[in-house]
């Protein structure tokens, strides 16, 4: 994915100002920055929820800047949310099945008549959903519980399984370790590597936990007040005086 001079204004407020970003295939890239830096706004533009004021978003060679969110999902971009957004009144399995919507074909009449093809598809999708839930490490007794009933950690897993269900090539994770203890964060870090290795995913994540960022990402992009202030390998970015300034303020001389 490539982000090309993207700008987003809300009224007079420039939330994202001329940000360019390259996410090479099979890489893990982190997006960091203080609160309100425009990270989630950028995510929302990549997934089509917001339309950029100017600039382009390219997926491979394809311009997806003005595509609808569901089209972008069908092209292979999936995401999770900063504050988990599961469908609370649906079970874990159903949540994942909904995630597979774009890869299903059943139409109105096929569903009403329950054609053999629809029946087959339905069975296969449910089976696949259970596999995915097992893959992200949800215990089987929780599969048929309502998402709203699940504990926080399990909800995060279901959300990742739901995103994976659409068979993405690019996975966007918005603060996946929020609310986790160091052990859990470390486990998630290795899970992300596993995802890349086994599912050949490209991962772009927003993250505040510097240990996770330094550990997992090949490249780091830093946003502050909507501007990109640094970009590069983790060690380089960590040493960048502008990044330190953005996070800690100007040192008094």
């Amino acid at each position: 994915m490539r982000v090309d001079h993207v700008v987003k204004e809300f009224g007079g407020l420039v939330a994202v100002d001329d940000v360019s970003l390259d996410v090479p295939q099979h890489s893990i890239v982190s997006l960091i920055g203080p609160n309100g830096a425009g990270k989630t706004t950028l995510f929302n533009m990549l997934t089509g929820l917001y339309k950029p004021t100017s600039g382009r978003v390219l997926l491979g060679k394809r311009d997806i800047t003005h595509k609808r969110p569901d089209i972008i999902t069908s092209l292979g971009v999936a995401r999770t949310f900063q504050n988990i957004r599961l469908f609370g009144a649906m079970t874990a399995v159903e949540n994942v099945v909904v995630g597979r919507h774009v890869r299903m074909r059943a139409g109105l009449f096929g569903s009403v008549l329950r054609l053999p093809s629809v029946r087959r598809e339905e069975r296969a999708v449910r089976e696949r959903a259970r596999e995915l839930l097992a893959y992200v490490g949800l215990r089987e007794s929780a599969f048929d519980l309502l998402a709203a009933q699940l504990p926080y950690g399990d909800q995060r897993r279901v959300e990742i399984a739901r995103a994976l269900a659409s068979e993405p090539t690019l996975l966007l994770l918005d603060e996946p370790t929020a609310g986790m203890n160091p052990n859990e964060s470390a486990a998630l870090t290795s899970f992300m590597r596993k995802l890349r290795r086994e599912l050949e995913l490209t991962i772009l994540l927003i993250e505040h936990d510097m240990k996770v960022v330094m550990d997992v990402s090949e490249r780091v992009t830093v946003l502050d007040h909507g501007h990109k202030i640094a970009e590069g390998p983790p060690e380089e970015v960590r040493a960048d005086p502008r990044v330190i300034e953005a996070y800690l303020g100007t040192p008094q001389s």
Binding site: M90, H101, V136, G137, P151, S190, K194
Partner: protein
């Protein structure tokens, strides 16, 4: 609910005690828990074909029901109307219950369905001479006369289209704003129905007959059965029962389909649903047009059953009446929508006018119960909201949510365990 064995039971009890109203009798919670336990035990003991067998028995009972009553009894009349209400309630449940779009203008589809009947099943368009599969008498009359089944299909198509048109401007709105826009559309259709008598279509024909009403509409006619009449209500009953079963079947099939899940996902969280690849416009419009189509079918039936299509039938109160059925039955619940429709239909057309109407006079009060029927509905709704806010037959999901106490206790325990994203043991 599966409770892991060996877990301390006190913890759950403490929870229940804390959540119960302090003033309530302490036996209630236990009784309810006991009932739930029994219910679960009964559910577990029943064979898997049980629900299907129950459905077959219920349908068989519904089919033979008229033989227990005289040909034109008040009870049959009320039953026919109640079943037609259930069709409307099922339709509105798709929009409000499944997709979560509060529609306060459902009367518009009653009107359009009824007018479809008026247009295509009477001599209203007297310049035209179109006859398709109708009785000998009707085929000599001027106007458009289609077989009732064709009119049903036409009504469904017209309303589906209208539902989409009404849905379009609400797509960018959420929650209460949708309610206001649909309410306005309902009112617009009602006004058009009244003033349609001034809309000239040429040749002296108008769009509607306003408050004069289109009357002498065709009664349904089927070869072999003959023309329906008001002396024998049984064919009417079986006709609307057939429509209801059809609509019920479509509802049940859609609920557990790709489309049904998309509706519920949109209801639960629109942003997440769209990000998961659900096309917002198409899915919402589908809900509107499906709901509208079913409303239109019931509307066409009402048109022929009441033998007149009159503009003053299409009042805002009717939308609320149907919405009450959906809510009393249980938002989003298919069986609840049927129960709500039947219940309010019976109360409105049988219980109040025929059973309890003279009740006040027995207490020396000088009024009839029909005069305060809206007060009675209001009372019922309020009681319902206090005693059983989830509806008569709540949707499975909501029932799970309401009995989720065990799940919550479980999750509190598990939050303490540092296990999230443990990749060990996963098929690496």
């Amino acid at each position: 609910m599966s409770d892991p064995p060996g877990q301390p039971v006190e913890e759950l009890d403490q929870n229940a005690g804390r959540d119960a109203p302090p003033s309530g009798p302490s036996g209630w919670g236990e009784l309810r828990a006991q009932l739930q336990e029994w219910r679960a035990a009964v559910d577990g003991a029943l064979p898997p074909w049980w629900p299907r067998a129950m459905a077959v028995i219920a349908i068989a009972f519904a089919i033979v029901l008229p033989f227990f009553f005289s040909l034109d009894s008040d009870f049959m009349n009320a039953t026919i109307i109640a079943v037609a209400y259930a069709v409307m309630s099922l339709g509105l449940n798709i929009v409000v219950g499944f997709a979560g779009l509060l529609d306060l203008g459902y009367v518009a589809f009653y009107a359009l369905g009824a007018y479809s009947l008026g247009w295509f099943g009477s001599d209203f368009f007297f310049k035209a001479h179109i006859h398709v599969l109708v009785s000998k008498v009707a085929s000599t009359l001027p106007g458009i006369h289609l077989n009732f089944i064709l009119i049903l299909i036409a009504a469904a198509l017209i309303c589906a289209l209208a539902g989409m048109l009404i849905g379009l401007p609400t797509l960018r709105l959420r929650g209460d704003y949708i309610a206001i826009v649909t309410l306005a559309f309902g009112e617009i259709i009602a006004v058009v129905a009244v003033n349609g008598q001034s809309v000239q279509l040429g040749g002296g024909m108008t769009l509607t007959a306003g408050n004069l009403g289109i009357s002498a509409v065709d009664s349904p006619y089927f070869p072999g059965v003959g023309m329906f009449n008001e002396l024998n209500l049984r064919p009417w009953y079986w006709l609307i029962l057939g429509v209801m079963l059809f609509v019920l079947f479509v509802n049940l099939r859609l609920r557990d389909s790709r489309l049904g899940r998309a509706w519920i996902a949109l209801r639960e969280d629109e942003v997440a649903a769209v990000s998961m690849g659900i096309p917002l416009v198409r899915t919402k419009l589908m809900a509107y047009s499906m709901g509208a189509a079913f409303g239109g079918m019931a509307g066409a039936f009402f048109g022929t059953y009441f033998t007149v299509v009159n503009a003053d039938q299409f009042q805002f109160g009717f939308s609320i009446f149907i919405l009450s059925m959906v809510i009393i039955g249980g938002l989003g619940s298919i069986w609840g929508a049927v129960a709500g429709g039947l219940l309010l239909g019976y109360i409105n057309y049988y219980l109040i006018p025929h059973v309890l109407n003279t009740l006040p006079s027995k207490f020396g009060l000088n009024f009839q119960l029909t005069e305060i029927e809206f007060g009675i509905y209001g009372f019922l709704l309020v009681m319902m909201m206090i005693l059983r806010p989830q509806g008569l037959i709540p949707e499975r999901r909501r029932r799970l949510e309401l009995t989720a106490k065990v799940g919550v206790a479980q999750s509190e325990r598990e939050l303490a365990e540092p296990s999230a994203y443990d990749t060990t043991g996963v098929n690496e």
